[in-house]
């Protein structure tokens, strides 16, 4: 067993579930997975939610989160099966030989302790370094990971540094005890795309320089392609395909892998603006009550019937605030919202019912956008009743029509939201918006919470519906792949301002302004060496200046 540092054979993982109204019972999450990892190599574990990828990652530390239990198989680390190890041996394994980087560094750091103490704790506890050695190694790592003021950042408390910085500190925490293996569990998923690229590069450099082996867990194939040597594709606790990065992204064998690779490549022909715009936002300025700065500064955009305007930006750019102003939830400080040939009243409550009907909204979290105590029939039927006075058989017929339109078919009327999958929930929300026969639907990050394949299905449905119903979308998103798939025109927002605006073909073509350039170049692409080339380009550009 000396060839690989990590060797997993027939790993089975189970958990006890407590479904409402049923007896608790055991289910299998992972059904016999095997793989090897050599010293200094990076294996990417990829799959959608429920694939069991995090669970497998933690199995490399013989750790089951919550009620999860490692029920069978072997996990060999440095020549011994850790599933048979004693508690004492496991303690020296965890934090010594194998370390872990979680998705949310903000929650994973102890709020009551300074960063340095937490970063060096494992190395000191396991006797790898003295306190002074561990601290100087931590400073070295802070520097290597590109953290500002590496000498002193360790004296800060977790809440005193930014999210991207804390994620790097977490990486330093994992690397400090010089482990043989690091488990990275979606370390960049919670970050903005322009922050993600730097953290990603920092992690990649750190892995290479320390020669540590790593398991890199993510749902984003483009990200994992940048940092891994090999990739294992997982689905519902089973391995679908295993290969080198090159093979997986350029010549996937399995149908499921092919679907994952070709995700987000929907082709959408841009439509030229025609006639009078259905929505015209003029000089909109807005601020939240009790604050003294404008979250929206002089916004001007237009949207034509049957077309899609994508509003892109990172968190804090003001894109969702724009939606709140248009819907009247946050009355603007200045400017006008012109809709379907009339000026909209700034305050939602004073708008006539016709305005409300013609302007519908779909939310990011379908879970919280539907009343859990109402059936799908009630949820879709209420707008029919409320706006059109439909009752009885007529209403039922229309509900069924709408369900057919969102490709759900028979038998969904009596279900409750909790009985639907994530994609189905979002479809019901779309049907609810459609029921009002709107001229404009505001889509607020409607695909961000969904797995890529499911998100693709939703985007295709939205495009289909737009063709049939001639409805316009104001599509708010942070994801540029989604923008490419659905937009006719694009507004790029940054710190409350529209920094770039026009038809898709123009906005996405050079010459770029600085921010759009940064944003566009930060979106991971599914090709080898993309990360290095972007970073190299940026270095060249900054050297040229």
């Amino acid at each position: 067993m000396s060839d690989g540092m990590l060797k997993v054979r027939g790993l089975k993982i189970g958990a006890t579930v407590y479904p409402p109204g049923e007896k608790p019972h055991d289910i299998d999450i992972v059904h016999g997975v095997s793989f090897d990892l050599e010293q200094g190599k990076v294996l990417g574990l990829i799959g959608e939610s429920g694939a069991g990828k995090s669970t497998i990652g933690l199995a490399a530390m013989a750790y089951g989160r919550g009620g999860v239990e490692l029920t069978g198989g072997e996990v060999w680390v440095n020549g011994r099966d850790i599933l048979q190890s004693s508690k004492g041996d496991l303690r020296s394994l965890r934090g010594g030989e194998v370390t872990y980087v979680s998705q949310s560094a903000a929650a994973s750091f102890n709020p009551a302790k300074q960063i340095m103490e937490q970063v060096t704790e494992a190395a000191i506890t396991h006797g790898k370094f003295s306190k002074a050695e561990a601290e100087s190694r931590a400073v070295e790592l802070f520097d290597k990971l590109g953290l500002p003021d590496p000498q002193n950042i360790g004296k800060r408390y977790p809440h005193q540094v930014s999210g991207g910085q804390l994620q790097r500190c977490m990486t330093a925490l994992a690397l400090c005890p010089e482990p043989d293996l690091v488990v990275f569990d979606e370390p960049t998923t919670a970050l903005d795309v322009t922050t993600q690229i730097d953290v990603l590069m920092a992690i990649k450099d750190a892995i290479r320089e320390t020669g540590v082996a790593a398991l890199y867990i993510t749902h984003d194939l483009a990200v994992v392609a940048q940092v891994s040597d090999d990739i294992m594709v997982l689905k519902m606790g089973e391995m679908v395909e295993y290969g080198t990065v090159d093979q997986i992204i350029n010549a996937p064998k399995e149908e499921y892998t092919q679907a994952l690779v070709s995700v987000r490549s929907i082709d959408h022909e841009e439509k030229a603006p025609a006639g009078v715009p259905v929505l015209k936002v003029e000089n909109i300025t807005a601020r939240y009550k009790g604050t003294n700065f404008d979250v929206l500064k002089d916004i001007n955009v237009e949207l034509h019937a049957g077309q899609t305007l994508a509003v892109v930006g990172e968190s804090g750019s003001g894109k969702s605030t724009l939606a709140r102003v248009i819907t009247g939830l946050l009355p603007q400080k200045g400017g006008n919202v012109h809709f379907a040939g009339r000026d909209l009243n700034p305050v939602m409550r004073t708008r006539p019912r016709e305005d409300l009907r013609e302007l519908q909204m779909i939310y990011q979290m379908a879970d919280t956008a539907m009343n859990p105590r109402q059936t799908v029939g009630t949820i879709i039927g209420r707008p029919l009743e409320f706006y059109f006075g439909l009752r009885g058989a007529e209403k039922q017929k229309r509900i069924q029509e709408l369900l057919d339109e969102i490709e759900l078919g028979q038998g969904f009327q009596d279900r409750y939201p909790a009985e639907l999958s994530g994609g189905q929930k979002q479809r019901v929300c779309i049907a609810r918006a459609l029921a009002a026969k709107p001229k404009l639907i505001i889509c607020d990050e409607v695909t961000s919470a969904l797995d890529p394949l499911v998100a693709d299905g939703i985007l295709k449905l939205l495009l289909d519906l737009q063709k049939r119903e001639d409805v316009a979308y104001l599509f708010i998103t942070h994801d540029l792949a989604t923008v490419r798939a659905i937009a006719d025109s694009i507004a790029v927002m940054y710190q409350g301002e529209v920094v770039r605006y026009g038809p898709k073909s123009e906005v996405l073509a050079p010459p770029f302004d600085d921010y759009t350039d940064l944003l566009l170049s930060s979106v991971p692409e599914m090709k080898l060496g993309w990360l290095e080339s972007v970073i190299a380009n940026r270095k060249m550009a900054s050297a040229g200046n």
Partner: protein, 272 residues
């Protein structure tokens, strides 16, 4: 819904029902008249007097049954009053927001800044102690707690996207409160109902024990303790029967409330 009722909740439900049935049927099932003196002072239990007699020779079982009637009646009325006022004002504060919410919430903060027993004693020092007064005082004082719960539950629901969606549709306040908020707030409130009822039973018993609750010759569980407490030092346990009654009733209601609350939390994934 009754299919998966756990044993503990079932036991709780049965005992609670028995107490309520005994309270309703008191005049039929009580062996003697409420104030009827039927024997010697503090007779031990016998075939005629199952629990013995009290400090002036009344049948203790009869006193306990009538006492239960009074205690449960006052507690029930107090709970209803506290729930109706507390939850309607709480929902209103949550939905209206702004100054109406501020006014109601700060008033409640102020009332809750003083322990309710102290508050009740101050009030009862000023007004004649009658059953309606007791119900009003306890009901309104306890309404502050219901208000806080109802408001916080409603505020949580009120910021959910589905409520915003209803508002964006143009729905009025009545639809929002009764169709969107209430169905989702009901379960935690029902569980709280049980806890408030227990609190009322304890509260009225305490007041009666202090001599500031139900006045003689009317019997209630707290009053029975007061009447018979002097026997304790002579080793006569008559005053302790109410302890058993109150504890079993309270625990039973607690078991039912726990079950309702657990059903609520697991309900996130199932049918109502």
């Amino acid at each position: 819904m009754m299919k998966n009722i756990p044993l503990t909740a079932l036991v709780g439900l049965i005992i609670t029902s028995l107490y309520f049935a005994a309270a309703l049927l008191a005049s039929w099932i009580a062996p003697y008249g409420m104030a009827e003196i039927v024997g010697d002072v503090w007779e031990p239990s016998s075939a005629e007097h199952l629990l013995g007699t009290d400090n002036i020779g009344r049948d203790l079982l009869t006193r306990m049954i009538y006492g239960g009637q009074t205690t449960i009646f006052i507690a029930t009325m107090g709970t209803i009053l506290s729930f109706v006022t507390g939850s309607s004002l709480g929902f209103l504060a949550a939905v209206l927001g702004g100054w109406a919410d501020q006014l109601l919430s700060r008033t409640v903060d102020l009332i809750m800044a003083i322990p309710s027993l102290i508050m009740a004693l101050v009030i009862l020092a000023m007004v004649p102690v009658t059953v309606p007064v007791l119900i009003l005082v306890m009901g309104f004082l306890d309404a502050t707690r219901v208000f806080r719960l109802a408001r916080s539950v409603a505020v949580d629901i009120n910021v959910m996207d589905y409520v915003e969606a209803a508002r964006l549709r143009g729905e009025g306040g009545a639809w929002v409160i009764f169709r969107e908020i209430l169905p989702n707030a009901l379960s935690p409130l029902v569980a709280e109902l049980g806890l408030r009822f227990i609190f009322m039973v304890l509260f009225i018993s305490t007041l009666s024990f202090l001599g500031l609750g139900v006045q003689p010759p009317l019997a209630d569980w707290g009053g029975i303790v007061k009447e018979n407490k002097d026997g304790i030092v002579y080793g006569i346990g008559a005053a302790l029967y109410p302890a058993i009654a109150i504890a079993t009733l309270a625990i039973s209601v607690n078991l039912v409330a726990d079950w309702v609350l657990n059903r609520t939390t697991s309900l996130k994934g199932g049918r109502g």
